[in-house]
């Protein structure tokens, strides 16, 4: 059904987006927790930095990534020299671009959920002998599951559709960084390839829909447990 090229782009996209979402899940949770629960000087700044990728055109974000993590960037040099890691022009780099672009969406959704968690339940857990950490894992986390799912789906969709930052930072290398949107771009650049482009469009949409339906299903399950008349 799928041509080898489509298949390559699809599997790469899934890998890239999956890794991107997986990689930001924990930091995103942590960041949301910090922003939702603590007050400290510089919080607004931190909040601003988190939102940065959302505010700038993706190409600019990609450019900033390239400048800082590329061979000429200090961070990139350091990474290359100490860890032997080079991110630009690799699928890991594409995942990074997707992760950076998706991060604020994840953080925002989780934070919104966190802010509506009933702190009284956390207090109850503490008096039952649960440490802060256990309370987070056993009470807070299950309660914000809908937020995590929403954030996760937004992040996945965003990173699945990520184009500007990816092509700028990770380039458009077949089999390595040519994800669905980049393949789509190449087709759109070629007159007469509209049908092939439309196919890729449909593939993207189907993948995203599957992720969406799965997350809805999970969220519904989580919510059904929480619903009811009494807290």
């Amino acid at each position: 059904m799928l041509t080898p090229l489509e298949w390559e782009a699809l599997s790469l996209s899934l890998r890239v987006s999956g890794v991107a979402v997986a990689a930001i899940l924990l930091p995103g949770l942590g960041m949301a927790y910090v922003l939702a629960r603590f007050d400290f000087p510089g919080k607004t700044l931190l909040d601003g930095i988190v939102h940065l990728p959302l505010v700038l055109p993706p190409v600019v974000v990609g450019y900033l990534l390239l400048v800082s993590l590329g061979r000429q960037g200090t961070l990139g040099q350091w990474l290359h020299e100490t860890l032997g890691v080079s991110l630009p022009f690799t699928w890991q780099g594409a995942a990074l671009a997707g992760a950076v672009m998706a991060f604020p969406l994840l953080v925002r959704a989780v934070r919104l959920s966190l802010e509506s968690v009933d702190r009284k339940l956390e207090e109850a857990a503490r008096t039952l002998g649960a440490s802060r950490w256990k309370t987070f894992l056993t009470v807070t986390l299950p309660l914000i599951l809908p937020g995590i799912l929403t954030g996760g789906v937004l992040a996945f969709a965003r990173s699945l559709s990520e184009f500007g930052a990816t092509i700028t930072f990770a380039s458009n290398i077949p089999g390595e960084t040519r994800t669905l949107p980049l393949a789509l771009y190449s087709l759109v650049q070629t007159p007469g390839k509209e049908a092939a482009a439309a196919r890729l469009c449909v593939i993207s949409v189907i993948v995203a829909l599957i992720a969406l339906v799965a997350s809805e299903w999970l969220a519904r399950r989580a919510r059904r447990r929480l619903e009811g008349r009494h807290a």
Binding site: A125, R225, H230
Partner: protein, 364 residues
């Protein structure tokens, strides 16, 4: 032994008080709505930090603002039943009950579930429980966490009479058998009468008075607050016989002549066991002579020790000596004057068995 000496500002309200809860038995925290009961419980549980002061539980300093000590709530091992149920909506009832349950408490699980009547709810989600059901689960959850001390904020509201009685009984047994001290908030003088050994009276953020429950209930100056009506005395007695046919247990009081007995509803204990009896002052009358025996009235020879305020109100409280123990009786002022009562007078204390509920007698 819990000793708290704390102050905390909460908006316009200031909590600034000291409270001592003995290492054993049940202490009731009694006070009007908004007097700071829940706020005090929060501080003890570690859900807030006092602006200044300290809280000590046994040898452990839970809080000491001067020495900058603060034990986080989960290390305090205090079981809290909150004023609202606060069940975890994402766990089943069973999951809620097990949440803080140590391995050692597993054996109690089934019994407690049965007592609370929540066996059929175990796999339900708390969201749709009825008010009373949720409360029972919350009580069970706190009890199963095997705390060093229980803090209960109006735990029995929303429970029906029968269940409430059962729970009162259970909590009292718990306090006695396991030695876990209990601090519980209640508005209900009957509940307090049935359960508490001591009462602390809190008003506008300060504990105004505290002491044994009978003394506190009897203190005329606290009358309007404690509900004078429930004033009672505690007496030691001994089981001398069971009457299986009539379902009665006969009790003898120390220092009483042979044959003078009180009858109460059949108790669990064995002949010879010591018991503690709570007798409400209003249920005890006096006559000057031993009137012709009445079928369900027990008489005890007594000496009049003291007569309360004779100048106000319709009722007068008098203190009797029955074989060396203090027994409170309440009479109308009319009766006191008609009988010409005076201290030192020999009297008969009169008492009807039916007024002594099962919960007024504790087999020691």
């Amino acid at each position: 032994m819990l000793e708290a000496k704390v102050s905390q500002r909460l908006g316009d309200f200031t909590l600034d008080t000291s409270l001592a809860v003995p290492a054993e038995g049940v202490t009731a925290l009694f006070g009007r709505s908004g007097s700071g009961k829940s706020s005090l419980i929060r501080l003890i549980a570690g859900l807030g930090v006092p602006d200044s002061g300290s809280i000590r539980l046994g040898d452990t300093w839970l809080v000491d603002t001067q020495r900058r000590r603060w034990v986080p709530p989960h290390r305090r091992q205090l079981g809290v039943v909150f004023q609202e149920a606060r069940l975890f909506p994402h766990y089943s009832v069973r999951g809620n009950l097990r949440y803080g349950m140590p391995r050692a408490a597993r054996a109690d699980f089934d019994d407690l579930v049965e007592l609370l009547g929540i066996g059929h709810l175990l796999s339900r989600t708390p969201g749709l429980l009825s008010g009373g059901e949720a409360r029972r689960v919350a009580i069970g959850r706190a009890l199963l966490s095997r705390p060093r001390m229980l803090l209960m904020d109006e735990p029995l509201t929303g429970l029906d009479g029968v269940r409430k009685q059962e729970l009162l009984h259970y909590i009292r047994r718990l306090a006695r058998d396991t030695g876990v001290p209990i601090l519980f908030v209640s508005h209900d003088t009957r509940e307090i009468g049935a359960l508490a050994d001591r009462v602390a009276l809190i008003e506008e953020g300060r504990v105004m008075a505290s002491g044994p429950v009978d003394e506190m209930f009897a203190r005329l100056d606290l009358g309007p607050r404690t509900g004078h009506f429930e004033a009672s005395s505690l007496l030691e007695a001994r089981i001398v016989a069971h009457d299986e046919a009539l379902c009665l247990t006969r009790l003898a009081l120390p220092g009483m002549p042979e044959g003078e007995m009180l009858s109460v509803a059949r108790l669990e204990g064995r002949v010879g066991d010591a018991v503690r009896l709570r007798l409400r002052a209003r249920d005890v009358g006096v006559t000057s002579t031993r009137t012709p025996p009445m079928p369900d009235v027990d008489c005890l020879p007594a000496t009049l020790r003291e007569i309360g305020d004779e100048t106000h109100g319709p009722f007068v409280e008098v203190m009797l000596d029955v074989g060396g123990q203090a027994l409170r009786a309440r009479l109308t002022r009319e009766a006191v004057s008609q009988m010409g009562l005076h201290t030192g007078q020999a009297l008969q204390a009169r008492l009807r068995s039916v007024t002594i509920s099962r919960h007024d007698v504790i087999v020691m």
